[in-house]
């Protein structure tokens, strides 16, 4: 019982929660504006993690700097996917008939390709590096510097993006698109430009989350999928398209996972995540916090 109430677990839950919140934020924006469920989202986390890993091992560059490079690479990848695959689908035509199911198949294919190209290039062996490994003590809680940094960056980004959505014209346009696509076009919002921007932003945040994750955990070409699932749980919990709800839900899932594993054993981690995922989809697909229904 003491272990459960300790600050140590709380700190772990907060760090995991912040990373989930950041990862899910990108997925939420892309879904909200384009109505595309990106199942390759976790693979962008993986790409970001590898950028940070190679920048650190080859160039001795801090992940806190290389995360900008990771963001740029992921944004470019998003741009390429948009022009290569999704514009055709969003514009209509033969393949657009079942847009959502088709886009999902495309993202699955992209995910499989990215994972296997990474496995081919970097081998399947998990890798890791030591950065900011010093332990800081707050009372009786010990936290490594890299976890503090990951938490801080994730929080700054989450709140930065929330402020951007609230105050910047482009951010307002994104929100308008999330609320009413057709109405947004009528009041003169350039829907395509906003979609491209959102896709790049969403991909970039995932890659930054990956760079942060690489400081605290081992990375591998197949590390992305658990993040995809976690991000889905978070955005469904928080309400699809609901950014604030998503951040709250990120912390909720972080706590659920950390305390759930602490109470049982790590063998149950996957069951816990997938169980919550399946349960939410079956019981409350409109989300716990958001009132928005997902009926197409």
């Amino acid at each position: 019982m003491d272990a459960i109430l300790s600050g140590q677990l709380l700190a772990a839950a907060l760090v995991t929660g912040a990373l989930y919140a950041l990862t899910a934020l990108g997925l939420n924006l892309v879904y909200g504006t384009m109505r595309l469920l990106n199942v390759a989202h976790g693979d962008l986390v993986m790409i970001g993690a590898y950028v940070a890993f190679w920048a650190f091992t080859l160039l001795a560059l801090s992940p806190l700097l290389s995360m900008f490079a990771a963001a740029a690479i992921a944004a470019l990848f998003g741009l390429a996917l948009y022009y290569g695959l999704f514009r055709r689908l969003l514009e209509g035509g033969k393949a657009a008939q079942r847009l959502e199911a088709n886009s999902l198949l495309l993202f699955f294919a992209v995910s499989v390709i990215v994972q296997n190209v990474a496995a081919l290039q970097f081998s399947g062996t998990p890798r890791g590096f030591q950065y900011l490994g010093d332990v800081y003590r707050f009372g009786n809680v010990a936290v490594t510097g890299n976890r503090i940094a990951a938490f801080a960056v994730a929080m700054v980004l989450c709140f930065g993006i929330m402020a951007f959505l609230r105050f910047h014209v482009m951010g307002l346009a994104i929100k308008a698109l999330i609320q009413r696509r057709d109405a947004a076009a009528i009041v003169g919002i350039n829907v395509e430009r906003v979609q491209i921007l959102t896709l790049c932003l969403g991909f970039a945040t995932a890659a930054v989350a990956g760079a942060l994750v690489s400081m605290t955990e081992q990375i591998s070409p197949f590390m992305g999928f658990p993040f995809t699932i976690a991000a889905f749980v978070v955005i469904i919990l928080g309400g699809l398209g609901n950014v604030t709800g998503g951040i709250v839900a990120g912390f909720l899932l972080g706590a659920l996972e950390t305390y759930g594993v602490a109470l049982t054993s790590s063998a149950y981690r996957s069951i816990l995540i997938y169980g919550v995922f399946v349960l939410i989809l079956l019981v409350r697909p409109q989300g716990l916090l958001g009132g928005r229904r997902i009926v197409r």
């Binding site: 695959l85 393949a95 699955f108 390709i113 063998a267 989809l281 079956l282």
Partner: protein, 301 residues
């Protein structure tokens, strides 16, 4: 239609002759070809007909394999196969009612999540039982498995063919085109979807029980491998799911590809599968059979 029937019977006779003339290698390849024909045809009864794309069909395959692993040595082979199919049907019936209320892309990720959940649950159960993989001795010979699999592939093809031409199949197609409209004109959508789900689960369960006996060992991560679900969907998309010939074309192409690449370069194989899926979704959404069929028809005009 008579032409199709003749082609199918011809193919079945040809397949039945394989173990008589070819060596074990080719019988093995034939077995995995038939396995994918059976899986993809079954998948089409639900996903091709209703548009509820299942990306978790491996769960029935895996369950069938688990049943076989538990029952091997206790009940005879025929009983195991029947029981595996029954178990898959029961599972589909149990999860079908809540799962089939979820639509579109949510159904896709839900089925995927369900299959992964089942995998981890089986891993934990096996952990409790203190088993991390099971070995089954004295399994049936390769030829026996081949002929049973041929029967399953033929049965799956026949079921898809019959469903498509029945009133039941028309109801399923109506659900795919517009579920609300179908319900309004009196199609019992819930009942039809459930029946299709159950029907599409039985044969994959049976196939799983055979494949576990073929490999002679059971390991949850291999039996519940999401790659199998992914392959089924890709074969149906590439072959085309509006025609009973589609899965035959799709399965043949992919088994060939996998024989060429899987053993030496599994990553390359997966990359090729991904590329083909993207290409067909974007450019040939009607699939190979749709493309070939249409080409022939417009050529005749």
């Amino acid at each position: 239609m008579k032409g199709t029937a003749a082609v199918l019977i011809g193919l079945a006779v040809l397949a039945a002759a394989v173990p008589l003339v070819a060596g074990d290698y080719f019988v093995g390849v034939g077995l995995s070809l038939l396995m994918y024909v059976a899986l993809t045809q079954s998948w089409i009864v639900l996903s091709g007909m209703t548009g509820y794309v299942s990306l978790g069909h491996v769960v029935f395959y895996g369950l069938g394999g688990y049943v076989a692993a538990l029952a091997w040595g206790v009940i005879p082979l025929a009983g195991i196969v029947v029981f595996a199919g029954l178990a898959a049907f029961v599972l589909a019936a149990a999860i079908g009612l809540p799962a089939l209320r979820v639509r579109g892309p949510y159904f896709v990720i839900l089925t995927f999540g369900l299959a992964e959940l089942a995998k981890y649950v089986v891993i934990v159960i096996e952990g409790w039982l203190g088993k991390f993989s099971r070995v089954m001795f004295g399994g049936p010979g390769l030829d026996t498995l081949f002929y049973i699999m041929l029967g399953l592939a033929a049965a799956a093809t026949l079921i898809t063919l019959l469903v498509r031409r029945s009133r039941f199949g028309q109801g399923l197609l109506a659900i795919r085109e517009n579920e609300e409209a179908a319900e309004t004109v009196g199609v019992p959508t819930v009942r039809l979807k459930l029946l299709a789900f159950g029907l599409s689960a039985i044969i994959p369960g049976m196939v799983g029980s055979l494949m576990v006996l073929r490999s002679t060992y059971f390991e949850p991560a291999l039996l519940f491998d999401p790659v199998i679900s992914f392959s089924i969907v890709t074969m149906a998309v590439v072959g085309g799911s509006d025609d009973v010939k589609g899965p035959l074309l799709g399965a043949a192409g992919f088994v060939l590809l996998s024989e060429l690449l899987w053993a030496n370069a599994p990553q390359l194989y997966m990359i090729m599968v991904g590329v083909l899926l993207i290409g067909f979704v974007l450019f040939v959404p009607e699939g190979l059979s749709g493309r070939l069929f249409r080409a022939r028809r417009s050529g005749a005009k």
